[in-house]
Every structure is written in structure tokens, then in C-alpha cells.
Assembly symmetry: C2
Homo-oligomer: 188 residues x 2
């Protein structure tokens, strides 16, 4: 029952949205409070400091991540294809949490880096289970990373990038075909 629009939830959502659309420097306490419809004092009642706001964001990210790991482990297309496919920004809650947190990596806060390092380790583990070969697994992860970083850094001008095309008319399906080529063939 955490999904009701409590003030705390509205503040967190506003912080996330500001990070995604305008970057960390624009996500000041004033701006977040205004976007959430409360005063700065009201915001600081729920989150005692800016660091607490970040922690709130990361806690939410970790929640979504656990659910994603479970889905990935059971994905019928295999973990590798699942990873690449979901590396395209899809505007899901998980995607939004990732991109928002990504924008904080440059900052001084080392805890954000650590969270992403942990996510990466889990993903790699799953892909390796799927593909067996370390180099291939690494290559597939890098491909997905490239997709995600491009989205996170260069973003979605105005809601574009949501479709299937990633660039120059190249579709995700075309990328997935390439990933399948890399899958070690069972000798028959």
C-alpha cells in the first residue's frame, strides 16, 4: 500500500522527474518542493537532508531491481536477449528509477556508484549463466550498457526513443538477431 499519493511519495516522484528531465543541478530542494506542491520545510520533514532524498531514490531502485532479476532469470528468450531488450528505455518505473539515479553518479555520492556496481554484477551473473562464455556475456552486457547510457545521457528529446527504433532505423529486433548469432551453438 505504498502506491497512494502520499506527500512523501509525491516528493520522491518529483525528485525523480526533475533529475530525468533537467539533471541534478536543477533538482534543488526548492525545485523539488515546488514540483511536489509542498514547501521546502514540508519536504524536509519527510527527508531530513538531500542525502536522504537520494537514499529514498536508491531504495526504490533496489526494489524494482529485485523484481527485474526474478523476471530475467525466467525469461523464455533467455537472459541475454532479455537484457538487451530491456536496455532500451521503455518508460517503466524501473527504467525511470535507473535513469534518475544514473544522473547522480557524477556527484560526490559514492553510494550511487555502489548500487550500480551491484546491479551490474547481478546482471552479468545471469547472462553468463545463459551464454556460458565470459567474453560473449561481457560483449552482450556492453551492448546493453551502450543502449542504456545513450538513453540516459542524451535522452529523450520529447518522448521519442520510446519506439522500437534506436538509431538510423536500426530496430531492437535487429540487435537481438546479432545477439543470437553470438550464442554458442549446441553441437549437433
Amino acid at each position: 500500500m505504498t502506491s497512494q499519493p502520499s506527500t512523501r511519495g509525491r516528493v520522491l516522484a518529483a525528485y525523480q522527474d526533475l533529475l530525468i528531465s533537467d539533471g541534478p543541478s536543477a533538482a534543488t530542494l526548492d525545485a523539488v518542493a515546488a514540483a511536489a506542491g509542498v514547501s521546502k520545510g514540508g519536504l524536509l520533514y519527510h527527508f531530513k537532508s538531500k542525502e536522504a532524498l537520494v537514499e529514498g531514490l536508491l531504495a526504490q531502485l533496489r526494489e524494482y531491481a529485485e523484481a527485474d532479476f526474478a523476471a530475467m532469470a525466467q525469461a523464455p528468450q533467455g537472459c541475454a536477449a532479455y537484457y538487451v531488450r530491456t536496455s532500451v528505455f521503455g518508460n517503466t518505473p524501473f527504467d525511470r528509477a535507473i535513469v534518475a539515479a544514473h544522473r547522480l553518479i557524477q556527484g560526490d555520492d559514492d553510494s550511487v556508484r555502489q548500487v550500480f556496481a551491484g546491479l551490474h554484477a547481478r546482471w552479468y551473473e545471469l547472462i553468463l549463466t545463459d551464454l556460458k562464455d565470459a567474453a560473449t556475456a561481457h560483449a552482450v552486457m556492453l551492448l546493453g550498457d551502450g543502449l542504456y547510457y545513450n538513453a540516459a545521457l542524451f535522452g529523450f528529446p520529447t518522448g521519442v526513443h520510446f519506439g522500437k527504433e534506436t538509431q538510423d532505423g536500426v530496430t531492437v529486433d535487429a540487435l537481438l538477431e546479432i545477439v543470437e548469432k553470438l550464442r554458442p551453438q549446441a553441437r549437433s
Copy 2:
């Protein structure tokens, strides 16, 4: 003759180093001036504003980029392999300029984004010439992007990451083998 340690050059180098090691928020005018061994007033004589500092960084980046495009077009191993290989952080002047500028993308400055968009377009063009197929070219670029972004965002704890290994014992050579697998075979 731009390589002599002029004050202007030292300031620019100090700004670059601070961006790479401590991020944008640490690269204040005070910090840059101190690192370069001048006062803030002295710094501002050479660069009238912080924006001018960024422009100086980008000008340098563009210079290095032009030289890299030329080398890439003539690379014996082909453009695709060249791109992936040089996407590993190698501590070259070009690498350092790229990583430093990358840290500014999150900021408000749109000019940094545009420079990287331009670089990407040129690289893609060269790789496509090499590989002929758009989807494959895109995949190779994403692989290189992933390498570079991981380096730029998570960095080099203390000079590590300079060797051939990128992660979990996976070498760049192993990644290059995978790229070669993707190269469309000449029908014989």
C-alpha cells in the same frame, strides 16, 4: 608550439584532471585555480567565465578527434576493430579529453551534448563504411560505447583499468574476436 606549460595550458589541464578524478561539482574555479597554481583572478584573465573553460576543453577535444578520425579511416584492422580497441580507456590525451567532457554532459550546457553527438555521427559513418550493415555497425558502436561509458562513469579506481583486461578477466582481444565474428563474410 602549444605544448609549452603556459598558464592557460596549465589551467586547462588542471580543469580536465579535476573533472576526471573528482567530478564536475569538485571542479570549481577555486579548485581549478589552486590546482593550476594561480589565483582565481589569474584564472579568469585567461578564461572569462566557467563557460569559457568548458569551451576551451571542447576545442581541445575537437582537435584530438580530427586526428583520430584520420587514423581510424586508415586503420589496417578496419574501423570497427579500431573503434572497439580505442574505446578502452588508454590514458591518451584524447581519452582524457573525452572522459573529462563526458562528465559535463549532465550539466545544463547543451554544447557538450552536441559535440558528442557530432563525434558519434562521424564514428558511425566510418564503421558503417567498414561493415556495410547498419545493424552490425550499430551493435559494434554500442559495444564500444558501453566500454567507454563504464570507464567514464565508474572510472579507474587508482590507475587500474589501464591494462588489457576490462572485466572478469575478459581481454579486449576476446572482444575483438567477437566483433570479427559479426563482420559479414565475403562470399567465396
